[in-house]
Protein backbone atom coordinates (compact mmCIF):
# COMPACT_ATOMS: atom_id res chain seq x y z
CA UNK A 1 0.00 0.00 0.00
CA UNK A 2 2.97 2.37 0.49
CA UNK A 3 4.21 1.64 -2.99
CA UNK A 4 4.56 4.57 -5.37
CA UNK A 5 2.48 4.38 -8.53
CA UNK A 6 2.12 6.64 -11.55
CA UNK A 7 -1.32 8.19 -12.06
CA UNK A 8 -3.00 11.09 -13.77
CA UNK A 9 -4.36 13.73 -11.40
CA UNK A 10 -7.99 13.18 -12.40
CA UNK A 11 -7.66 9.41 -11.98
CA UNK A 12 -5.86 9.65 -8.63
CA UNK A 13 -8.73 11.80 -7.44
CA UNK A 14 -11.24 9.19 -8.60
CA UNK A 15 -9.42 6.33 -6.87
CA UNK A 16 -9.11 8.39 -3.69
CA UNK A 17 -12.88 8.96 -3.70
CA UNK A 18 -13.40 5.20 -3.82
CA UNK A 19 -10.87 4.74 -0.99
CA UNK A 20 -12.89 7.30 1.00
CA UNK A 21 -16.01 5.17 0.58
CA UNK A 22 -17.69 7.10 -2.22
CA UNK A 23 -19.95 4.68 -4.10
CA UNK A 24 -22.07 7.16 -6.04
CA UNK A 25 -20.94 9.47 -8.82
CA UNK A 26 -23.12 11.61 -11.09
CA UNK A 27 -21.56 13.79 -13.78
CA UNK A 28 -21.61 15.26 -17.24
CA UNK A 29 -18.72 15.32 -19.74
CA UNK A 30 -16.57 18.46 -20.03
CA UNK A 31 -12.86 18.91 -20.73
CA UNK A 32 -10.40 18.90 -18.92
CA UNK A 33 -12.00 16.64 -16.27
CA UNK A 34 -13.25 13.81 -18.50
CA UNK A 35 -10.88 11.27 -16.93
CA UNK A 36 -12.85 11.50 -13.68
CA UNK A 37 -16.21 10.23 -15.04
CA UNK A 38 -14.41 7.74 -17.30
CA UNK A 39 -12.49 6.37 -14.31
CA UNK A 40 -15.57 6.24 -12.09
CA UNK A 41 -17.63 4.52 -14.81
CA UNK A 42 -15.02 1.75 -14.87
CA UNK A 43 -14.24 1.46 -11.16
CA UNK A 44 -17.57 2.04 -9.37
CA UNK A 45 -19.37 -1.02 -10.81
CA UNK A 46 -16.36 -3.12 -9.64
CA UNK A 47 -16.98 -1.81 -6.11
CA UNK A 48 -20.74 -2.33 -6.19
CA UNK A 49 -21.29 1.39 -6.64
CA UNK A 50 -23.29 3.47 -9.09
CA UNK A 51 -21.95 5.63 -11.90
CA UNK A 52 -24.59 7.59 -13.79
CA UNK A 53 -23.94 9.96 -16.66
CA UNK A 54 -26.53 12.69 -16.14
CA UNK A 55 -28.42 14.50 -18.90
CA UNK A 56 -27.04 17.85 -17.72
CA UNK A 57 -24.89 19.49 -15.07
CA UNK A 58 -28.11 20.57 -13.33
CA UNK A 59 -29.38 17.02 -13.24
CA UNK A 60 -25.98 15.77 -12.02
CA UNK A 61 -25.81 18.11 -9.02
CA UNK A 62 -29.43 17.37 -8.15
CA UNK A 63 -28.76 13.62 -8.30
CA UNK A 64 -25.92 14.35 -5.88
CA UNK A 65 -28.44 16.24 -3.72
CA UNK A 66 -30.80 13.23 -3.72
CA UNK A 67 -28.07 10.67 -3.06
CA UNK A 68 -26.67 12.76 -0.22
CA UNK A 69 -30.17 13.18 1.24
CA UNK A 70 -30.42 9.39 1.22
CA UNK A 71 -27.24 9.26 3.34
CA UNK A 72 -24.61 8.23 0.79
CA UNK A 73 -21.09 9.50 0.20
CA UNK A 74 -21.40 11.04 -3.24
CA UNK A 75 -19.29 13.05 -5.67
CA UNK A 76 -19.61 14.97 -8.91
CA UNK A 77 -16.93 16.64 -11.00
CA UNK A 78 -16.87 19.19 -13.76
CA UNK A 79 -14.93 22.10 -15.15
CA UNK A 80 -15.62 25.82 -14.94
CA UNK A 81 -18.65 26.32 -17.28
CA UNK A 82 -20.19 23.15 -15.87
CA UNK A 83 -19.59 24.29 -12.30
CA UNK A 84 -21.43 27.53 -13.15
CA UNK A 85 -24.45 25.43 -14.09
CA UNK A 86 -24.24 23.58 -10.76
CA UNK A 87 -24.50 26.74 -8.65
CA UNK A 88 -28.26 26.48 -8.16
CA UNK A 89 -27.85 22.98 -6.76
CA UNK A 90 -24.93 24.03 -4.55
CA UNK A 91 -27.06 26.75 -2.99
CA UNK A 92 -29.83 24.23 -2.22
CA UNK A 93 -27.22 21.80 -0.85
CA UNK A 94 -25.98 24.56 1.47
CA UNK A 95 -29.53 25.38 2.59
CA UNK A 96 -30.44 21.75 3.23
CA UNK A 97 -27.01 21.11 4.85
CA UNK A 98 -26.14 18.11 2.72
CA UNK A 99 -22.60 16.69 2.60
CA UNK A 100 -21.03 16.09 -0.80
CA UNK A 101 -17.78 16.49 -2.73
CA UNK A 102 -17.69 18.61 -5.89
CA UNK A 103 -14.58 18.75 -8.06
CA UNK A 104 -13.80 21.75 -10.29
CA UNK A 105 -10.91 21.13 -12.69
CA UNK A 106 -10.75 24.77 -13.75
CA UNK A 107 -10.32 25.91 -17.35
CA UNK A 108 -10.01 29.34 -18.95
CA UNK A 109 -13.01 31.69 -19.09
CA UNK A 110 -15.24 33.65 -19.15
CA UNK A 111 -17.84 31.89 -21.27
CA UNK A 112 -16.70 28.83 -23.15
CA UNK A 113 -13.14 30.18 -22.85
CA UNK A 114 -10.69 27.40 -23.59
CA UNK A 115 -9.74 24.00 -22.20
CA UNK A 116 -6.37 24.89 -20.67
CA UNK A 117 -5.87 25.07 -16.91
CA UNK A 118 -6.83 28.28 -15.14
CA UNK A 119 -7.55 29.71 -11.71
CA UNK A 120 -10.34 32.02 -12.79
CA UNK A 121 -13.01 30.53 -10.52
CA UNK A 122 -11.56 31.62 -7.15
CA UNK A 123 -14.26 34.24 -6.63
CA UNK A 124 -17.04 31.82 -7.64
CA UNK A 125 -15.67 29.15 -5.29
CA UNK A 126 -14.97 31.26 -2.22
CA UNK A 127 -17.73 33.86 -2.46
CA UNK A 128 -20.51 31.44 -3.37
CA UNK A 129 -21.71 31.41 -6.96
CA UNK A 130 -25.27 30.49 -6.02
CA UNK A 131 -27.94 32.60 -4.33
CA UNK A 132 -28.11 33.35 -0.63
CA UNK A 133 -25.95 33.58 2.46
CA UNK A 134 -23.75 30.50 2.33
CA UNK A 135 -20.20 29.15 2.20
CA UNK A 136 -18.56 25.98 1.01
CA UNK A 137 -15.24 24.46 2.00
CA UNK A 138 -12.63 24.85 -0.77
CA UNK A 139 -9.53 22.63 -0.93
CA UNK A 140 -6.70 23.53 -3.34
CA UNK A 141 -4.39 20.62 -4.24
CA UNK A 142 -1.04 21.35 -5.89
CA UNK A 143 0.19 17.83 -6.75
CA UNK A 144 -1.28 14.52 -7.85
CA UNK A 145 -0.50 13.25 -4.34
CA UNK A 146 -2.61 16.06 -2.91
CA UNK A 147 -5.38 15.46 -5.45
CA UNK A 148 -5.72 12.07 -3.76
CA UNK A 149 -5.03 13.04 -0.13
CA UNK A 150 -7.35 16.06 -0.13
CA UNK A 151 -10.13 14.03 -1.74
CA UNK A 152 -10.08 11.59 1.19
CA UNK A 153 -10.07 14.55 3.58
CA UNK A 154 -12.90 16.20 1.64
CA UNK A 155 -15.34 13.36 2.32
CA UNK A 156 -14.65 13.47 6.08
CA UNK A 157 -15.00 17.27 6.20
CA UNK A 158 -18.24 17.10 4.19
CA UNK A 159 -19.78 14.59 6.59
CA UNK A 160 -18.46 16.28 9.73
CA UNK A 161 -19.92 19.68 8.85
CA UNK A 162 -22.77 18.63 6.52
CA UNK A 163 -21.38 20.90 3.83
CA UNK A 164 -20.33 20.79 0.18
CA UNK A 165 -16.55 20.49 -0.11
CA UNK A 166 -15.15 21.83 -3.35
CA UNK A 167 -11.86 20.47 -4.67
CA UNK A 168 -10.48 23.33 -6.70
CA UNK A 169 -7.93 21.94 -9.15
CA UNK A 170 -7.04 23.09 -12.63
CA UNK A 171 -6.60 21.53 -16.05
CA UNK A 172 -2.84 21.11 -15.61
CA UNK A 173 -3.25 19.24 -12.31
CA UNK A 174 -6.01 17.09 -13.74
CA UNK A 175 -3.96 16.07 -16.77
CA UNK A 176 -0.46 15.71 -15.30
CA UNK A 177 0.89 12.26 -14.39
CA UNK A 178 2.96 11.96 -11.22
CA UNK A 179 4.05 9.33 -8.75
CA UNK A 180 1.95 9.06 -5.63
CA UNK A 181 1.26 6.79 -2.71
CA UNK A 182 -2.45 6.07 -2.57
CA UNK A 183 -3.97 7.32 0.71
CA UNK A 184 -5.53 4.99 3.25
CA UNK A 185 -9.14 5.21 4.39
CA UNK A 186 -9.43 7.26 7.58
CA UNK A 187 -11.98 4.87 9.07
CA UNK A 188 -14.05 7.74 10.46
CA UNK A 189 -17.75 6.93 10.74
CA UNK A 190 -20.43 9.60 10.69
CA UNK A 191 -23.98 8.94 11.87
CA UNK A 192 -26.66 10.47 9.65
CA UNK A 193 -29.90 10.45 11.65
CA UNK A 194 -31.27 13.17 9.35
CA UNK A 195 -31.04 11.03 6.19
CA UNK A 196 -34.15 10.01 4.25
CA UNK A 197 -34.16 6.29 4.94
CA UNK A 198 -37.88 5.83 5.63
CA UNK A 199 -39.84 6.89 8.73
CA UNK A 200 -39.68 3.50 10.44
CA UNK A 201 -39.83 3.86 14.23
CA UNK A 202 -39.11 7.57 14.01
CA UNK A 203 -40.75 10.82 12.96
CA UNK A 204 -40.55 11.71 9.26
CA UNK A 205 -37.31 13.42 8.22
CA UNK A 206 -37.43 16.43 5.93
CA UNK A 207 -34.57 17.64 3.75
CA UNK A 208 -35.39 21.19 2.72
CA UNK A 209 -34.28 24.81 2.79
CA UNK A 210 -37.68 26.52 2.42
CA UNK A 211 -38.57 28.67 5.43
CA UNK A 212 -41.67 30.68 4.56
CA UNK A 213 -43.36 31.39 7.86
CA UNK A 214 -42.04 33.08 11.02
CA UNK A 215 -42.24 29.86 13.08
CA UNK A 216 -39.57 28.33 10.85
CA UNK A 217 -37.55 31.51 10.54
CA UNK A 218 -35.11 31.64 7.66
CA UNK A 219 -32.90 33.94 9.70
CA UNK A 220 -32.68 31.17 12.28
CA UNK A 221 -31.33 28.82 9.59
CA UNK A 222 -28.93 31.53 8.39
CA UNK A 223 -27.62 31.95 11.95
CA UNK A 224 -27.20 28.19 12.39
CA UNK A 225 -25.23 28.10 9.15
CA UNK A 226 -23.19 31.11 10.27
CA UNK A 227 -22.23 29.32 13.50
CA UNK A 228 -21.08 26.35 11.43
CA UNK A 229 -19.05 28.59 9.10
CA UNK A 230 -17.41 30.28 12.10
CA UNK A 231 -16.48 26.89 13.55
CA UNK A 232 -15.00 25.80 10.21
CA UNK A 233 -13.08 29.08 9.92
CA UNK A 234 -11.60 28.53 13.38
CA UNK A 235 -10.70 24.86 12.90
CA UNK A 236 -10.12 24.04 9.25
CA UNK A 237 -7.71 26.64 7.80
CA UNK A 238 -4.90 24.83 6.03
CA UNK A 239 -1.76 26.19 4.40
CA UNK A 240 1.93 25.52 3.86
CA UNK A 241 4.67 27.99 4.69
CA UNK A 242 7.87 27.25 2.74
CA UNK A 243 11.04 29.13 3.74
CA UNK A 244 8.96 32.00 5.09
CA UNK A 245 10.61 32.57 8.48
CA UNK A 246 13.40 34.82 7.25
CA UNK A 247 11.80 35.77 3.92
CA UNK A 248 12.28 39.31 2.67
CA UNK A 249 10.03 38.48 -0.27
CA UNK A 250 6.96 36.36 0.10
CA UNK A 251 5.14 34.68 -2.77
CA UNK A 252 1.49 33.73 -2.19
CA UNK A 253 -0.15 31.19 -4.47
CA UNK A 254 -2.13 27.93 -4.61
CA UNK A 255 -2.41 24.93 -6.93
CA UNK A 256 -0.37 24.85 -10.11
CA UNK A 257 0.88 28.43 -9.77
CA UNK A 258 2.30 27.57 -6.32
CA UNK A 259 4.53 24.93 -7.94
CA UNK A 260 5.97 27.55 -10.26
CA UNK A 261 6.47 29.85 -7.27
CA UNK A 262 8.28 27.10 -5.34
CA UNK A 263 10.74 26.71 -8.19
CA UNK A 264 11.28 30.48 -8.25
CA UNK A 265 11.89 30.51 -4.47
CA UNK A 266 14.48 27.71 -4.78
CA UNK A 267 16.33 29.50 -7.58
CA UNK A 268 16.24 32.87 -5.79
CA UNK A 269 17.59 31.25 -2.62
CA UNK A 270 20.48 29.80 -4.64
CA UNK A 271 21.27 33.38 -5.64
CA UNK A 272 21.19 34.44 -1.99
CA UNK A 273 17.84 36.20 -2.17
CA UNK A 274 15.61 35.39 0.79
CA UNK A 275 12.34 34.44 -0.87
CA UNK A 276 9.59 32.28 0.61
CA UNK A 277 6.27 30.79 -0.40
CA UNK A 278 2.93 30.80 1.36
CA UNK A 279 0.64 28.25 -0.24
CA UNK A 280 -3.10 27.90 0.38
CA UNK A 281 -4.46 24.42 0.97
CA UNK A 282 -7.89 25.82 1.87
CA UNK A 283 -9.13 28.83 -0.09
CA UNK A 284 -12.22 28.97 2.14
CA UNK A 285 -11.68 29.24 4.99
CA UNK A 286 -8.81 31.51 3.98
CA UNK A 287 -5.77 30.88 6.22
CA UNK A 288 -5.49 34.56 7.18
CA UNK A 289 -3.73 34.10 10.52
CA UNK A 290 -1.03 31.83 9.10
CA UNK A 291 -0.47 34.30 6.26
CA UNK A 292 -0.19 37.19 8.74
CA UNK A 293 2.58 35.29 10.54
CA UNK A 294 4.35 34.17 7.36
CA UNK A 295 4.29 37.68 5.92
CA UNK A 296 5.32 39.50 9.12
CA UNK A 297 8.89 40.32 8.03
CA UNK A 298 8.40 40.46 4.27
CA UNK A 299 9.26 43.69 2.47
CA UNK A 300 7.11 42.71 -0.48
CA UNK A 301 4.36 40.16 -0.96
CA UNK A 302 3.84 38.95 -4.54
CA UNK A 303 0.53 37.22 -5.21
CA UNK A 304 0.79 34.88 -8.20
CA UNK A 305 -2.34 33.55 -9.87
CA UNK A 306 -3.53 32.00 -13.11
CA UNK A 307 -6.11 34.79 -13.31
CA UNK A 308 -5.95 38.56 -13.42
CA UNK A 309 -6.24 38.89 -9.66
CA UNK A 310 -8.82 37.22 -7.43
CA UNK A 311 -7.10 35.63 -4.42
CA UNK A 312 -5.16 38.89 -4.04
CA UNK A 313 -8.26 40.43 -2.40
CA UNK A 314 -8.09 37.88 0.44
CA UNK A 315 -4.31 38.40 0.71
CA UNK A 316 -4.79 42.17 1.10
CA UNK A 317 -7.53 41.64 3.68
CA UNK A 318 -5.28 39.34 5.71
CA UNK A 319 -1.83 40.94 5.91
CA UNK A 320 -0.61 43.88 7.92
CA UNK A 321 0.41 46.82 5.69
CA UNK A 322 -1.41 45.65 2.55
CA UNK A 323 0.46 48.22 0.43
CA UNK A 324 3.24 45.60 0.40
CA UNK A 325 1.04 43.34 -1.75
CA UNK A 326 1.83 43.17 -5.47
CA UNK A 327 0.42 41.00 -8.23
CA UNK A 328 1.58 38.87 -11.13
CA UNK A 329 -0.89 36.76 -13.06
CA UNK A 330 -1.47 35.08 -16.39
CA UNK A 331 -4.92 34.26 -17.66
CA UNK A 332 -6.72 32.52 -20.51
CA UNK A 333 -5.03 29.21 -19.77
CA UNK A 334 -1.47 30.63 -19.73
CA UNK A 335 1.03 29.82 -16.97
CA UNK A 336 3.03 32.29 -14.87
CA UNK A 337 6.78 32.02 -15.64
CA UNK A 338 9.54 31.33 -13.13
CA UNK A 339 11.86 33.86 -14.77
CA UNK A 340 9.25 36.59 -14.66
CA UNK A 341 8.63 35.94 -10.95
CA UNK A 342 12.40 36.13 -10.30
CA UNK A 343 12.72 39.30 -12.38
CA UNK A 344 9.97 41.01 -10.38
CA UNK A 345 11.40 39.98 -7.02
CA UNK A 346 14.85 41.25 -8.02
CA UNK A 347 13.33 44.52 -9.25
CA UNK A 348 12.00 45.22 -5.73
CA UNK A 349 15.66 45.73 -4.72
CA UNK A 350 16.45 46.26 -1.05
Amino acid sequence: MNEKILMKGNEALGEAAIIAGCRFYFGYPITPQNEVPAYMSRRLPQEGGTFLQAESELAAINMVYGASAAGARVMTSSSSPGISLKQEGLSYIAGAELPCVVVNIMRGGPGLGNIAGSQGDYFQSTRGGGNGDYRQLVLTPATVQEMADLTVLAFDLADEYRIAVLILGDGYLGQISEALVLPKPTGKVFEKPWALTGAKGRKPNKVASLRLVPETSLEELNLVLDEKYKKISAKECRSESYLTEDADYLLVAYGTSSRICREAVNELREEGIKAGLFRLITAWPFPAEALRIASAKAKKILTVEMSLGQMIEDVKLSVKDPERVDFYGRSGGMLPETDEIKRRIKAYGN
Binding site: F24, F26, T50, L52, A54, E55, S56, L58, A59, A60, N62, M63, V64, Y65, G66, A67, S68, A69, A70, G71, A72, V74, E88, G89, Y92, A96, L196, T197, G198, A199, K200, G201, P204, N205, K206, V207, A208, S209, L210, L212
Partner: protein
Protein backbone atom coordinates in the same frame (compact mmCIF):
# COMPACT_ATOMS: atom_id res chain seq x y z
CA UNK B 1 -59.94 6.95 18.35
CA UNK B 2 -61.99 8.14 21.32
CA UNK B 3 -65.14 8.62 19.26
CA UNK B 4 -65.37 4.90 18.59
CA UNK B 5 -68.20 3.20 20.47
CA UNK B 6 -69.65 -0.26 20.18
CA UNK B 7 -72.86 1.22 18.87
CA UNK B 8 -71.24 2.55 15.72
CA UNK B 9 -69.48 0.75 12.94
CA UNK B 10 -66.11 2.33 12.25
CA UNK B 11 -66.01 2.92 8.50
CA UNK B 12 -63.55 5.71 7.79
CA UNK B 13 -60.47 7.47 9.15
CA UNK B 14 -57.89 9.82 7.77
CA UNK B 15 -54.98 7.89 6.30
CA UNK B 16 -51.99 7.41 8.63
CA UNK B 17 -49.78 8.65 5.80
CA UNK B 18 -51.55 12.03 5.88
CA UNK B 19 -50.70 14.58 8.59
CA UNK B 20 -53.86 15.75 10.36
CA UNK B 21 -53.66 19.46 9.64
CA UNK B 22 -55.34 22.14 7.56
CA UNK B 23 -53.63 22.68 4.22
CA UNK B 24 -52.82 26.06 2.70
CA UNK B 25 -54.65 25.21 -0.53
CA UNK B 26 -57.51 27.35 -1.85
CA UNK B 27 -61.11 26.05 -1.82
CA UNK B 28 -61.65 23.86 -4.87
CA UNK B 29 -57.93 23.26 -5.50
CA UNK B 30 -57.09 19.74 -6.68
CA UNK B 31 -53.84 19.35 -4.71
CA UNK B 32 -55.57 18.39 -1.44
CA UNK B 33 -57.54 15.66 -3.19
CA UNK B 34 -54.46 14.16 -4.87
CA UNK B 35 -52.47 14.38 -1.60
CA UNK B 36 -55.16 12.36 0.10
CA UNK B 37 -55.35 9.78 -2.69
CA UNK B 38 -51.59 9.32 -2.49
CA UNK B 39 -51.71 8.95 1.30
CA UNK B 40 -54.51 6.37 1.05
CA UNK B 41 -52.54 4.38 -1.52
CA UNK B 42 -49.38 4.52 0.60
CA UNK B 43 -51.37 3.14 3.56
CA UNK B 44 -53.17 0.48 1.56
CA UNK B 45 -49.89 -0.80 0.14
CA UNK B 46 -48.21 -0.64 3.56
CA UNK B 47 -45.18 1.37 2.41
CA UNK B 48 -45.41 4.48 4.64
CA UNK B 49 -42.19 3.58 6.43
CA UNK B 50 -40.30 3.30 3.14
CA UNK B 51 -41.85 6.23 1.31
CA UNK B 52 -40.15 9.49 0.33
CA UNK B 53 -42.07 12.35 -1.26
CA UNK B 54 -40.04 14.69 -3.48
CA UNK B 55 -41.70 18.10 -3.50
CA UNK B 56 -41.72 20.41 -6.50
CA UNK B 57 -41.54 24.18 -6.63
CA UNK B 58 -45.06 25.54 -6.98
CA UNK B 59 -48.18 25.51 -4.80
CA UNK B 60 -47.43 21.98 -3.58
CA UNK B 61 -43.90 22.96 -2.46
CA UNK B 62 -44.93 22.11 1.12
CA UNK B 63 -46.36 18.67 0.36
CA UNK B 64 -43.81 17.12 2.74
CA UNK B 65 -45.54 18.97 5.59
CA UNK B 66 -48.78 17.12 4.79
CA UNK B 67 -47.32 13.65 4.25
CA UNK B 68 -46.55 11.60 7.33
CA UNK B 69 -43.39 10.09 5.84
CA UNK B 70 -39.94 11.26 4.74
CA UNK B 71 -39.82 14.24 2.40
CA UNK B 72 -37.32 16.03 0.23
CA UNK B 73 -37.30 19.46 -1.36
CA UNK B 74 -36.12 19.82 -4.95
CA UNK B 75 -35.26 22.98 -6.82
CA UNK B 76 -37.63 24.02 -9.60
CA UNK B 77 -37.91 21.21 -12.16
CA UNK B 78 -35.24 18.97 -10.62
CA UNK B 79 -37.50 16.53 -8.74
CA UNK B 80 -36.78 13.65 -11.17
CA UNK B 81 -33.02 14.09 -10.67
CA UNK B 82 -33.35 14.29 -6.88
CA UNK B 83 -35.63 11.24 -6.96
CA UNK B 84 -33.02 9.42 -9.07
CA UNK B 85 -30.33 10.09 -6.46
CA UNK B 86 -32.58 8.97 -3.58
CA UNK B 87 -33.72 5.80 -5.34
CA UNK B 88 -30.27 4.77 -6.60
CA UNK B 89 -28.87 4.91 -3.06
CA UNK B 90 -31.79 3.08 -1.39
CA UNK B 91 -33.55 0.94 -4.04
CA UNK B 92 -36.02 -0.29 -1.37
CA UNK B 93 -37.35 3.24 -0.81
CA UNK B 94 -40.66 4.14 -2.45
CA UNK B 95 -39.90 7.44 -4.15
CA UNK B 96 -42.69 9.68 -5.46
CA UNK B 97 -41.84 12.77 -7.50
CA UNK B 98 -44.79 15.16 -7.29
CA UNK B 99 -44.60 17.88 -9.96
CA UNK B 100 -46.64 20.69 -11.42
CA UNK B 101 -46.90 21.70 -15.07
CA UNK B 102 -44.31 24.48 -14.97
CA UNK B 103 -42.00 22.22 -12.99
CA UNK B 104 -42.29 19.19 -15.27
CA UNK B 105 -42.91 20.62 -18.75
CA UNK B 106 -41.09 23.97 -18.69
CA UNK B 107 -38.07 24.44 -16.42
CA UNK B 108 -37.60 20.71 -15.79
CA UNK B 109 -38.43 19.13 -19.15
CA UNK B 110 -34.93 17.68 -19.49
CA UNK B 111 -34.97 15.98 -16.10
CA UNK B 112 -38.51 14.64 -16.64
CA UNK B 113 -37.75 13.10 -20.03
CA UNK B 114 -34.43 11.58 -19.03
CA UNK B 115 -35.63 10.03 -15.76
CA UNK B 116 -38.48 8.45 -17.74
CA UNK B 117 -36.12 7.38 -20.52
CA UNK B 118 -33.78 5.68 -18.04
CA UNK B 119 -36.78 3.87 -16.60
CA UNK B 120 -35.95 5.01 -13.08
CA UNK B 121 -37.97 2.87 -10.69
CA UNK B 122 -39.95 5.84 -9.34
CA UNK B 123 -43.52 7.14 -9.56
CA UNK B 124 -44.22 10.59 -10.97
CA UNK B 125 -47.49 12.36 -10.18
CA UNK B 126 -47.91 15.24 -12.60
CA UNK B 127 -50.50 17.88 -11.65
CA UNK B 128 -51.67 19.73 -14.76
CA UNK B 129 -53.83 22.73 -13.91
CA UNK B 130 -52.93 24.80 -16.97
CA UNK B 131 -51.43 27.66 -14.96
CA UNK B 132 -48.68 28.76 -12.56
CA UNK B 133 -50.56 28.88 -9.27
CA UNK B 134 -48.10 29.98 -6.60
CA UNK B 135 -46.63 32.90 -8.51
CA UNK B 136 -50.04 34.35 -9.30
CA UNK B 137 -51.45 32.78 -12.43
CA UNK B 138 -48.92 33.08 -15.25
CA UNK B 139 -48.94 31.04 -18.46
CA UNK B 140 -47.89 27.41 -18.04
CA UNK B 141 -46.64 25.12 -20.82
CA UNK B 142 -50.07 23.48 -20.50
CA UNK B 143 -52.13 26.70 -20.58
CA UNK B 144 -54.95 26.29 -23.10
CA UNK B 145 -55.16 28.16 -26.39
CA UNK B 146 -56.77 31.60 -25.88
CA UNK B 147 -56.65 31.14 -22.07
CA UNK B 148 -56.19 34.44 -20.23
CA UNK B 149 -53.42 34.43 -17.64
CA UNK B 150 -51.28 37.06 -15.90
CA UNK B 151 -48.74 36.83 -18.74
CA UNK B 152 -51.19 36.15 -21.60
CA UNK B 153 -53.60 39.06 -21.05
CA UNK B 154 -54.84 38.72 -24.66
CA UNK B 155 -55.09 34.94 -24.44
CA UNK B 156 -52.48 32.29 -25.26
CA UNK B 157 -51.54 32.65 -28.93
CA UNK B 158 -50.06 29.36 -30.19
CA UNK B 159 -48.51 31.18 -33.15
CA UNK B 160 -46.48 33.21 -30.67
CA UNK B 161 -45.77 30.86 -27.74
CA UNK B 162 -46.69 27.44 -29.08
CA UNK B 163 -49.51 25.02 -28.32
CA UNK B 164 -50.04 23.46 -24.89
CA UNK B 165 -47.71 20.47 -24.41
CA UNK B 166 -49.20 17.03 -23.82
CA UNK B 167 -47.04 15.26 -21.22
CA UNK B 168 -48.38 11.71 -21.52
CA UNK B 169 -48.11 11.70 -25.30
CA UNK B 170 -44.56 13.08 -25.12
CA UNK B 171 -43.37 10.41 -22.68
CA UNK B 172 -45.24 7.73 -24.60
CA UNK B 173 -42.61 7.99 -27.34
CA UNK B 174 -40.02 6.52 -24.94
CA UNK B 175 -39.34 2.79 -24.53
CA UNK B 176 -38.69 2.41 -20.81
CA UNK B 177 -41.75 3.80 -18.97
CA UNK B 178 -44.05 0.95 -17.88
CA UNK B 179 -47.15 2.92 -17.01
CA UNK B 180 -48.55 6.19 -18.42
CA UNK B 181 -52.06 7.37 -17.66
CA UNK B 182 -53.97 10.66 -17.71
CA UNK B 183 -56.72 11.08 -15.10
CA UNK B 184 -58.65 13.90 -13.49
CA UNK B 185 -60.30 14.84 -10.22
CA UNK B 186 -63.14 16.90 -11.66
CA UNK B 187 -65.76 14.42 -10.39
CA UNK B 188 -65.96 11.40 -8.04
CA UNK B 189 -65.82 8.80 -10.76
CA UNK B 190 -62.62 10.20 -12.21
CA UNK B 191 -61.16 10.78 -8.75
CA UNK B 192 -61.52 7.05 -8.08
CA UNK B 193 -59.83 6.31 -11.40
CA UNK B 194 -57.02 8.65 -10.39
CA UNK B 195 -56.54 6.72 -7.15
CA UNK B 196 -56.44 3.46 -9.06
CA UNK B 197 -53.76 4.84 -11.40
CA UNK B 198 -51.64 6.14 -8.50
CA UNK B 199 -51.96 2.73 -6.83
CA UNK B 200 -50.77 1.02 -10.00
CA UNK B 201 -47.84 3.42 -10.21
CA UNK B 202 -46.72 2.69 -6.65
CA UNK B 203 -47.29 -1.05 -7.09
CA UNK B 204 -45.08 -1.02 -10.17
CA UNK B 205 -42.36 0.56 -8.07
CA UNK B 206 -42.74 -1.95 -5.24
CA UNK B 207 -42.39 -4.74 -7.80
CA UNK B 208 -39.31 -3.06 -9.31
CA UNK B 209 -40.95 -2.71 -12.69
CA UNK B 210 -39.76 0.81 -13.48
CA UNK B 211 -41.04 4.25 -14.30
CA UNK B 212 -44.73 5.15 -13.87
CA UNK B 213 -46.26 8.49 -14.89
CA UNK B 214 -49.69 9.63 -13.73
CA UNK B 215 -50.94 12.95 -15.09
CA UNK B 216 -53.84 14.49 -13.17
CA UNK B 217 -55.93 17.21 -14.81
CA UNK B 218 -56.55 19.46 -11.84
CA UNK B 219 -58.18 22.74 -10.86
CA UNK B 220 -56.97 26.22 -9.92
CA UNK B 221 -60.19 28.18 -9.19
CA UNK B 222 -58.32 31.17 -7.73
CA UNK B 223 -56.10 31.84 -10.73
CA UNK B 224 -58.74 30.81 -13.25
CA UNK B 225 -61.12 33.31 -11.61
CA UNK B 226 -63.82 30.68 -11.10
CA UNK B 227 -65.89 29.12 -8.34
CA UNK B 228 -64.88 25.53 -7.45
CA UNK B 229 -67.70 23.86 -9.40
CA UNK B 230 -67.07 26.13 -12.43
CA UNK B 231 -63.44 25.13 -12.29
CA UNK B 232 -64.32 21.43 -12.23
CA UNK B 233 -66.59 21.98 -15.21
CA UNK B 234 -63.83 23.85 -17.04
CA UNK B 235 -61.53 20.83 -16.68
CA UNK B 236 -64.19 18.61 -18.17
CA UNK B 237 -65.31 20.94 -20.94
CA UNK B 238 -62.08 22.70 -21.93
CA UNK B 239 -59.10 20.60 -20.83
CA UNK B 240 -60.32 17.03 -21.38
CA UNK B 241 -61.04 17.55 -25.12
CA UNK B 242 -57.40 18.64 -25.61
CA UNK B 243 -55.87 16.31 -23.01
CA UNK B 244 -57.74 13.02 -23.51
CA UNK B 245 -58.17 10.91 -20.38
CA UNK B 246 -57.15 7.29 -20.36
CA UNK B 247 -54.31 4.84 -20.22
CA UNK B 248 -51.48 5.26 -22.69
CA UNK B 249 -49.35 2.35 -21.50
CA UNK B 250 -49.63 -0.46 -18.99
CA UNK B 251 -46.81 -2.95 -19.49
Amino acid sequence: METKTKDFKYVYDKPEALVDKVTHYCPGCGHGIVHKLLAEVIDELGVREKAIIVAPVGCSVLIYDYMNFDGCEASHGRAPAVATGLKRVNPDSIVVAYQGDGDLLAIGTGEAIHAANRGENITTIFINNAIYGMTGGQMAPTTMEKQITATTPYGRDPMDVGFPIRGCELLNTLERPVFIERCSIYDFKNTLKTKKAIKKGIKNQIEGRGYSFIEVLSTCPTNWGMKPQEAANWVKDTMVPYYPLGNFRDN
